[in-house]
């Protein structure tokens, strides 16, 4: 049954540009349907701000169905808000109550500079993927589907890791600003599969060291797993750590033969 929430107070981080100091500004939402998504609530606010002739709140969003990884937002101190296993776009106002004050902040990490208001630049993730988050495939006739047998549990584990949408909630939630869950998910989904084996060790070495250039270090708090909209387990981080250790020794051996 639809109900209407009334008297919501939003404290939203406003920042005019990358170099601006930024500040919280307070907005009132007199009423909103509990069926509205969190982003639709912000849309309603923005419509009003545009109508009043003031600058609307800038925030990232795209597919609004939890698969693109564009939306973000630190809501009441939690990445993607209070609901487990969903991105902000799938958070609905029914999770809140009339009279609530909701604090909204952008992701904060030196690798994610704020562009404006709640929008951050997450291209550091692209740098990590460029370093090895792919397999090299020769071109030619398209191979038949399912040509390479893969044990079902392995395929499932790889798929769980591949569910990562690259939203950056892991970095945002991490007390250290580490990107280990993102990097480990990208490493794991390729390193578990037969297609990923040829580049397995140079991949993990290149990706971990690129991650090092931008992000903090993992101290195993587990906050990333709790914040991840795809609920990716920190077990992938252990897998990455093990592969990195192996890679350092294997690659050293391999390079010594040149």
């Amino acid at each position: 049954m639809t109900t209407t929430l009334t008297n919501l107070t939003l404290k939203i981080w406003r920042q005019d540009g990358p170099g601006d100091a930024g500040r919280f500004e307070t907005y009132q939402i007199p009423e909103i349907s509990d069926e509205a998504s969190f982003l639709e609530m912000l849309d309603v606010l923005n419509e009003r701000l545009i109508g009043e002739g003031t600058e609307p709140v800038t925030f990232d969003h795209d597919c609004r169905e939890g698969i693109c990884g564009t939306c973000s937002l630190m809501i009441d101190g939690q990445a993607h808000g209070p609901q487990r296993g969903t991105a902000t776009c799938q958070l609905h106002m029914r999770k809140f109550q009339s009279g609530d004050t909701i604090v909204i902040e952008p992701w904060r990490a030196s690798a994610f500079p704020i562009i404006k208001d709640l929008m951050v630049d997450r291209s550091a993730f692209d740098r990590i993927v460029e370093a090895g988050g792919y397999i090299s495939a020769d071109t030619g006739g398209a191979p038949d589907a399912n040509l390479i047998p893969i044990p079902k549990p392995v395929a499932d584990a790889a798929m769980d890791a591949a569910a990562c949408i690259g939203c950056g909630a892991c970095v945002a939630a991490c007390p250290n600003g580490a990107a280990n869950l993102f990097t480990a998910a990208k490493v794991t989904h390729l390193n578990l599969l037969p297609q990923g084996q040829a580049e397995r060790f140079k991949r993990v070495e290149a990706m971990v060291e690129t991650m090092d250039e931008y992000f903090g270090s993992c101290t195993n708090h587990g906050e990333c797993e709790a914040a991840c909209p795809k609920e990716i387990s920190i077990d992938v981080i252990a897998l990455m750590n093990a592969d990195y250790r192996k890679a350092k020794f294997k690659n050293r051996k391999a390079l010594s033969r040149i």
Binding site: R108, A109, R127, H221, A238, Y244
Partner: protein, 266 residues
């Protein structure tokens, strides 16, 4: 793209770091292997884990050794724990000179603890740089435990305790009634003082909290991960922490309760 203030936006970049190779760099351009490995955050975590294991083994051994104080006096009228101290000083004698094995272990422990501190310091610097501007509103942590978030504080306090502990029972500087080699007497002399006993109890509880996160965390850092055994990692961490805290806290309590009492100490 430019924003109204005129600075270039960093959006929509496709490449900023030159050609992508995804290959291991040639060995010649790198630092020596172990230093190269240590220069990465993951490498520092391996060091944290391995030195952590060594110190866990030490601290368990140290606690078990101290249990000898409950054995009282041996047949020859000397306290069992004084015999044990003598045994450590003469370990592997005459293969090694007296104190030889002891000093090998001491130097090993000092190097271990320095590496643990250096790696922790390096990681802290990396983490501070990764988020120079903090969240301006309160964080709502979901599963990060008190233990995991207080590692730096518990670590620093435990380090301060270790220094005091050496000054107290190894060198005797802060022990009013210190007699070299009379371990039982020295323990009674120092822990009969209430403030010292409370300091020992608090420090060991903090050590237990440090170990509770550290023992679990080292498996993640080293990548020792197996779904069949993963649930045991928490139990092992709780077990190590409990054994250390119960064992070590029992000593000051035993002294205060008069269970450990040396006739020469008032």
């Amino acid at each position: 793209m430019r924003d109204p203030t005129g600075s270039v936006w960093r959006m929509a970049q496709t490449l900023s770091r030159g050609p992508v190779t995804g290959t291991a760099k040639p060995a010649g351009k790198r630092k020596p292997f172990l230093l190269d490995l240590y220069s990465t955050a993951v490498g520092k975590k391996y060091v944290m884990a391995i030195t952590g294991i060594l110190m866990i083994l030490f601290v368990v051994g140290h606690m078990i050794g101290n249990l000898k104080m409950y054995q009282g006096v041996d047949a020859d009228g000397v306290y069992a724990i004084d015999h044990y101290g003598e045994f450590l000083r003469e370990l592997l004698y005459p293969l090694l000179p007296k104190y030889g094995a002891l000093w090998i272990m001491r130097v090993g422990l000092i190097v271990t603890i320095l590496l643990h501190i250096h790696a922790a310091y390096g990681l802290t610097v990396i983490n501070r740089k990764a988020r120079p501007v903090k969240y301006q509103s309160p964080r709502d942590y979901q599963i990060a435990s008190f233990a995991s978030r207080s590692m730096r504080w518990t670590g620093v306090i435990v380090l301060a305790f270790i220094l005091w502990h050496l000054a107290d029972l190894t060198f005797g500087w802060v022990n009013p009634d210190f007699e070299y080699g009379e371990v039982y007497r020295n323990i009674d002399a120092t822990l009969s003082r209430w403030p010292v006993a409370i300091f020992y109890i608090v420090a060991n509880v903090l050590l237990g909290i440090h170990l509770f996160h550290g023992t679990w965390s080292l498996f993640q850092s080293m990548g020792w991960n197996n779904p069949r055994f993963n649930p045991w990692r928490r139990w092992l961490a709780a077990g190590v922490a409990t054994v250390i805290v119960v064992g070590n806290v029992s000593f000051p309590i035993a002294v205060l309760a008069g269970i450990v009492e040396h006739p020469g100490v008032s």
